[in-house]
């Protein structure tokens, strides 16, 4: 299971990648594996929307499950990954690159302080697997 070091994670299985004032948000390799074959992604926000940390930004459906994706930070949506509409399977094959979900302009970088590092997230996953 991949857990890139340069990202931050949440216990709800999203990741966020910060580059200056901008951030990209997606779901982790662990999450896509748990969901199995993803068949549909509905992104619930549009470019220009102001979103608050914790807001639901997308719903993901696999053949056996459905999951909500929440934003890990407040900000303004600057891009959504429209390619997921036709190729939701990219969330399975490449959750950290091609499978990104939205990009936002951050309101406050400090909001990210309580998120998990890659090591902490891996430890959390091991604990969950029991």
């Amino acid at each position: 299971m991949k857990t890139p070091k340069d990202l931050k994670y949440a216990k709800t299985d999203e990741w966020i990648k910060v580059e200056g004032e901008e951030a990209t948000i997606g779901i982790s390799d662990y999450a896509q594996d748990q969901l199995s074959d993803i068949v549909y992604v509905e992104i619930l926000v549009e470019e220009g929307d102001a979103i608050e940390k914790g807001d639901e930004i997308a719903t993901i459906e696999s053949v056996k499950a459905a999951a909500g994706v929440n934003t890990l930070a407040s900000g303004t949506v600057i891009a959504i990954n429209e390619a997921l509409d036709d190729e939701p399977e990219q969330l399975n094959s490449d959750p950290y690159e091609a499978g990104w979900i939205i990009k936002i302009k951050l309101d406050d970088v400090a909001q990210l302080d309580d998120l998990l590092s890659a090591e902490e997230y891996e430890a959390y996953n091991e604990e969950r697997e029991g």
Partner: protein, 487 residues
Amino acid sequence: MTEKTIYELSQPGRKGFVFPDSDVPAAPLPKAFERGSINLPELSELDVIRHFTNLSRLNYSVDGGFYPLGSCTMKYNPKINEVAVRLPGFSQTHPLQPITSVQGNLYLMYQLQEMLQEISGFHRVTLTPAAGAQGELVGALIIKKFHESNKDTKRVKILIPDSAHGTNPATSAMSGFEVAPLPSDARGNVDLEALKLHCDETLAGLMLTTPNTLGLFDENVIEVIEMVHNAGGLVYGDGANLNALLGIVRPGDLGFDIMHFNLHKTFATPHGGGGPGSGPVGVSERLAKFLPGPIATIVDEGDDDTPPFYGFYTPEESIGRMKAFYGHFGVVVKAFTYIAMHGPDGLRDIGEKAVLNANYLMEKVKEDYYLPYDRTCMHEFVVEGTWKDIPNVHALDISKRLMDYGFHPPTNYFPLVVHEALMIEPTETESKQTLDAFAAAMKAIAKEAREDPGMLNKAPYTTPIRRSDEVKAARDLVLCCWTPDSF
């Protein structure tokens, strides 16, 4: 083994049915609305009969074999019910005929209401809900209306045990409630400590399936209900599993405020490949005024020479109409027939034999499968469909393999509180020989799992189709037949 679709079978110009020619002068169609040709298939009567007969042969059914689908109560559907519902007096009555011309229907509905009240211990029953899920919606809306009528607007929370069916939380959400999950304790009962924490002024109600989806009778049911009542909430009973309680105990006596019945489970009306069901709802006296109508009633008691005269009423503070007309009358006729044939002793016999069969089968199956809640069950039980030392065999594989042994699989992956759940409900109409044969198949599969786990992963082998590609179905959606006009 596949069957062509009706569109593939279609031959231009072929006819299957002809109506008499028109005997009135022609009236012109309004041009602006006139439709050209409609692309329906063209088949002979025999084409149609063969096609659907062939399709029927691809189905597993209760008439064909043992169907131990947990929480679905796949019991035998008596054939007299099918005769009854086809009597022209029932099948050919229009719902809006003058009330004087449908006294038989109203009598039957009234009698079934009375029977269900007596069986369940509720004060009043409505027959209108179309299915169990709609009965649940009635229940949740009554809870909402009850608190509103008391100006008790803070009550927004419905408690739902973690073992509950998915309709319970879905119904609560449809009714505008917040859902709070309630854990089960180690014996499969509602966790009383967790319940206590939720008993506050925001509590609207609790939805409780009895027996629960683990097939267990909650040992603290009276206490649970009292706690919710004391906190000002109502208790909704999901009647999906009422078969276990027939003639044994009445949910109304236990203190439940509302419950829906599944006529298609408990009262042997057929499932029809997914419907029609019927989900009457019973309530305690204080909630009767909120029931949806129309409900059958006696308008005039009559006397020695005249029979009572029946009509409909809708309670004044009703939550409103749930569907057109009066519910699934055809299903109601079948349930009435079934109950009339059983009487009090017959009903108790159903409850007892359903529970006897389940406990007998549980004893046999648990020899090879882990039973997480090992105590006397009611009408069903749940085992794990996996073994720690055989990591690659899952509940799904066992289910699929059972088809090769000629059985319908149990409900799998539900309830969620049991890992790799196999939920087995034999029902009362199955014989000891059938249960033994099923137990033997389960034992044989457990052996196969050890000896050749890979073989189970590919099962079934003998069914009309093999395992199907559900990912493809969802990604490349094809939801209707190819037809010539589609291109």
